[in-house]
Symmetry: C2
Subunit: 157 residues, 2 copies
Amino acid sequence: MAKVKETLVKTTPPGEDADDIGEIRDIVGFHLRLAHGAVYRHFTETFAELDLTQKQVSVLWLVDDHPGIAQTGLAQRMRMDRATTMAIVNRLEARDLLQRGKSDTDGRKQTLHLTVAGKAMLATAKEAIRAHEEWLKSRYTAREVAVLIELLTRLHE
Amino acid sequence: MAKVKETLVKTTPPGEDADDIGEIRDIVGFHLRLAHGAVYRHFTETFAELDLTQKQVSVLWLVDDHPGIAQTGLAQRMRMDRATTMAIVNRLEARDLLQRGKSDTDGRKQTLHLTVAGKAMLATAKEAIRAHEEWLKSRYTAREVAVLIELLTRLHE
DNA sequence: TATTGTTATACTCTATAACTATA
DNA sequence: TATAGTTATAGAGTATAACAATA
């Protein structure tokens, strides 16, 4: 479990520390956090004009794919709790991109739908996503993209 | 560029949407965000008793690896701006885990060092990191871990 | 009892801007 | 001029707790 990196990753030069656990560059979580941060920053730049965050775009997209979805359904797909979901839905509703309705079958549930403005915003957002994804994918082969998605999926499934 | 997923990832069932850009599950950034969130949550649980965040542990670790590092050096390695770095260093200094000093060669710079308590905390944190990483790596082969790190590194290098 | 939505609260992360001191 | 640190500010994400309405 300690001699793996030599196979694919460039060998670590003799470290100044010989700890039990190794170096911070061998920690998967460290790289995941840095990678997420880098992508987050590029996303924010790409979406500065639209003034949308990753989460907000994801919510618009998911509501469009699943019209009438309840907030809890959204929370499950986004891996968020109810309070966080509320906050995001509130912001989108305040901007008239999304609207709440009452469920016919379950009085406790809200039904979520995009407004006309929301659908237009999503269409624009998808264009920006395409540019953002191309920037991201530019450093990978098509095969590597598939592998990366597969490996990442195992972390949140 | 659209027929890649069949090779490695399970085929997408006929979607209800036939958009230009495809489905949200084909977006790398979407999976990266979910994966990061899942790992972030597990990290938080693991470090609840120590009351340390990912960033704080990373800072302690990096300062220990590079004694006397300046805040800007820390910011570069962490991909953070100066203000964010300040906030984190302030918290760690307030808890007496880290201390600031003046640089001999450059009056503008701070030199950062761990306190005795900071070194003890880092040692404990590394044990928790080991458990956290084992949870994370449990779903991968050693080869896959190396591949994942290599692919993630390309996003933040 | 369990679920859903809601509200309130608090902390962290992130970024920007403006200021001071030093190079 | 540029760099390093500092301070203030603001928005967003994350989580917890408690409450009301409904199943």
